[in-house]
């Protein structure tokens, strides 16, 4: 098993939380992992990414090679475009929220951004903000995106649930359930989309 994942977003959108959940789930399955993060200046509202690598064998590089990522998981649509060059063109999946984080003057038209994503052979685009709101809080939008990526991670769904319980456990049952529901809602959305596309 090997999964090379690029996590993308804007500083403060919670991509490190996604990384921690996937990482905890991977460790519970006995996998090896490496996770390169961005700290420092870029965290102030700039573009941030994390290279998350899972494997049943030992992992050498902290960085994923260009054109080799199995997945891009992005919590912001324009940020998913930034890493197109990283994605494996034969197998790679792109999973992205469609909700823009607009903190720059020249933010492109969202329809154009989505049109670029929809040119790819394998993608899931999801209205994570709306789905998260339906589950109780828009703050769980990052977990909805993670849920939408879950079918392609090569991990047991129950491992992800276990990781959420472990990570949010200290913060109380309410937050655990909100995040479990957000994960499920994202997961169901991706499953439906896949069924539709196979018909």
């Amino acid at each position: 098993m090997k999964k090379d994942i690029i996590l993308a977003g804007v500083g403060g959108q919670g991509i490190l939380t996604i990384a921690t959940i996937i990482g905890t789930a991977a460790l519970s399955e006995g996998l090896q992992l490496k996770q390169a993060e961005v700290h420092g200046m870029s965290q102030r509202g700039g573009d941030v990414q994390s290279h998350l690598r899972l494997s049943s064998k030992s992992i050498a590089s902290d960085l994923i090679a260009e054109g080799s990522a199995d997945m891009i998981i992005s919590v912001e649509p324009m940020e998913s475009l930034r890493y197109f060059n990283m994605l494996n063109t034969k197998t790679g999946w792109l999973v992205s929220s469609i909700n823009p984080f607009n903190n720059i003057a020249n933010y492109p038209d969202v329809e154009q951004i989505l049109a670029e994503i929809w040119k790819l052979p394998r993608y899931v685009t999801i209205d994570a903000d709306k789905i998260a709101k339906d589950q109780g809080t828009v703050k769980a939008a990052n977990i909805v995106v993670l849920g939408a990526a879950a079918p392609f991670l090569g991990l047991q769904y129950t491992s992800l649930e276990g990781a959420i319980k472990k990570i949010f456990g200290r913060k109380g049952e309410f937050l655990v359930n909100v995040n479990l529901n957000a994960l499920k809602a994202g997961y169901d959305f991706a499953q439906q989309k896949m069924q539709k596309s196979t018909i």
Partner: protein, 539 residues
């Protein structure tokens, strides 16, 4: 044994704790900050009374660590690469004094300048000081080599450098921990004159240092940190140091590399080892993160030997960090390509947070400066450097810690009156105070905007050394009471703040305007904590 999932920085911290550390001294700086923060948060470090408060700057940190080493205990000092410039005087001379208790200097380089103003390579400093440098290639090595650094330091009575780079500092992987060693008791060096660098003593000490060099390079072999792996294809030999070794392995998923490889994690590198590789291959490829220090040594001035490829012949670009693809290209292997990045993508540079006091400080300064010609604001290093970008476009320089005040003096003395220095509270106590003394002594016509957000904001909100003491410091340095003003950078105080700036800009002497409001990030964190505590007491 269970593996701990640690950042490279955290692995260094844990390695030091387990080596019997008694004190860590540091000033925050990306990518080194998390080393000290890990020790500050560690329960075991608390139980062992490991000193871990932030120092005012890297030089005071380095000197305090030398003092602890003098008194026989194990000390570590941590900084980012440019911090080593600040600490350089103490650092280079510590090689001459030597160490008593283990003395380890961690310098975290930032190739590609993710959060820095240059990509200088700390290994040069190690070579310059003529002390051993350890360069871990992964998180486990970061832990192991930090432990080893203390052993090496005490064995040879020398400071030892551990060199990290961003991608190791800020990447997590599993680390296996070993036993925790005892801390040293206080003890003084057997020669109480060892640390007195009077020329007559320094000459002797320098010879002591020179005499250790052969043993230092031999240690790299004995420790197993520098290893020559055999390979059947002699058309090329590869030297890979630090994390460059990982990028090499990455390109051989089954680890079946046909070429002989010299893996380097310790300097100085034994000449024997290099010669052994050189003699058996037709050409060499040098993979190192940072400057071509090994490559330059191999080529020599004349560069008339076998074909050597690396950064100096642009096989790999001279600037910027390595990655698996750059190494793959250098190996002459076919690289993968992803999709083309769509043209509609825009850059998203970092920016000041919503509600950040710097918006209001620079908003008022910008307006007060409208009646003057542009180019008058010499600034410094911190979040406020982001005011260089639109929409503020406020500042005209950012060179090194504390340079705002001294550059403003120089510019004013060239005729740029008024000149403004814009500096944060933590940067001011790091390296701005002495410059302010210069300004006072020379009666320089400068206006200092001192943005006091009560923290070291850019690196994540660490304690600021001058907290609660700034007015006393400024008046103590001789700034006139009438020209020390305190404003609250808030939108609703805009007009009165502009008036204060205008008045002080017109004064032809030293003025300091403290713009005081807490960092929005630390405020939010404090409120969250308070809220959580309240809930705890309720339930």
């Amino acid at each position: 044994m269970d593996k701990l999932l640690l950042l490279g920085d955290e692995a260094v911290a844990l390695g030091a704790i387990d080596a019997g550390l008694s004190g860590v001294y540091a000033y925050p700086g990306t990518p080194s900050t998390e080393i000290t923060e890990y020790i500050q948060a560690s329960k075991e470090a608390k139980e062992r009374h490991i000193v871990s408060d932030w120092s005012a700057n890297e030089k005071t940190a380095m000197e305090t660590a030398i003092g602890m080493s003098y008194a026989g205990k194990k000390a570590m000092v941590c900084m980012k690469h440019v911090g080593l410039n600040v600490a350089a005087d103490a650092f280079v001379n510590s090689a001459i004094t030597g160490a008593h208790g283990g003395l380890v200097v961690v310098s975290a380089d930032d190739p590609s300048m993710h959060s820095s103003q240059n990509e200088q390579d700390s290994r040069f400093y190690g070579k310059f000081a003529q002390i051993p440098v350890l360069e871990p290639s992964n998180q486990q090595e970061a832990y192991d080599l930090t432990r080893y650094a203390f052993d090496l330091s005490e064995k040879y009575g020398t400071p030892v450098m551990v060199r990290l780079t961003t991608r190791l500092s800020h990447s997590r992987a599993g680390v296996v921990r070993k036993e925790t060693k005892a801390q040293n008791r206080m003890s003084l060096p057997s020669d109480l004159k060892q640390f007195i660098l009077l020329p007559s003593i320094a000459r002797k000490r320098y010879n002591v240092l020179l005499a250790k060099q052969e043993a230092f390079s031999e240690e790299g072999i004995q420790s197993g940190n520098n290893v020559l792996y055999e390979g059947s294809d002699k058309s090329m030999g590869i030297i890979a140091s630090g994390i460059a070794y990982n990028y090499l392995l990455e390109n051989f998923p089954d680890r079946d590399i046909p070429y002989p490889i010299l893996k380097i994690s310790q300097y100085p590198v034994s000449r024997k080892l290099i010669k052994n590789l050189y003699d058996q291959v037709e050409s060499l490829l040098i993979l190192e993160e940072g400057y071509p220090i090994i490559e330059e040594g191999l080529r020599g001035t004349l560069d008339e030997g076998k074909t050597i490829r690396g950064r100096m012949d642009e096989t790999i670009s001279f600037a910027g960090e390595l990655n698996p693809m750059k190494v793959k290209k250098a190996l002459g292997m076919q690289t993968n390509e992803g999709y083309t990045v769509p043209e509609i993508l825009e850059a998203r540079p970092p920016l000041l947070c919503d509600g950040c006091p710097h918006w209001d400080s620079f908003g008022a300064l910008n307006e007060a400066l409208k009646s003057y010609s542009g180019g008058r604001v010499l600034s410094d290093i911190g979040c406020y450097t982001l005011s260089a970008l639109p929409p503020l476009d406020s500042i005209n320089s950012c060179v090194d810690m504390g340079a705002s005040i001294t550059m403003a003096i120089g510019a004013a003395e060239a005729g740029l009156v008024p000149a403004v220095a814009a500096i944060g509270d933590s940067t001011f106590t790091h390296s701005g105070m002495t410059g302010l003394l210069d300004a006072v002594n020379r009666k320089a016509p400068i206006t200092v905007l001192l943005m006091d957000n009560a923290t070291t904001g850019m690196t994540g909100g660490q304690d600021s050394s001058g907290f609660g003491k700034l007015e006393d410091i400024i008046l103590g340095l001789g700034v006139e009471k009438d020209h020390l003003k305190i404003i609250t950078p808030l939108r609703r105080h805009h007009d009165e703040n502009v008036a204060v700036f205008k008045e002080e800009l017109a004064y032809e002497g030293v003025s300091v305007i403290i713009a005081r409001r807490e960092c929005i990030q630390t405020l939010a964190r404090r409120m969250k904590l308070k809220h959580a505590k309240k809930e705890e007491t309720v339930s």
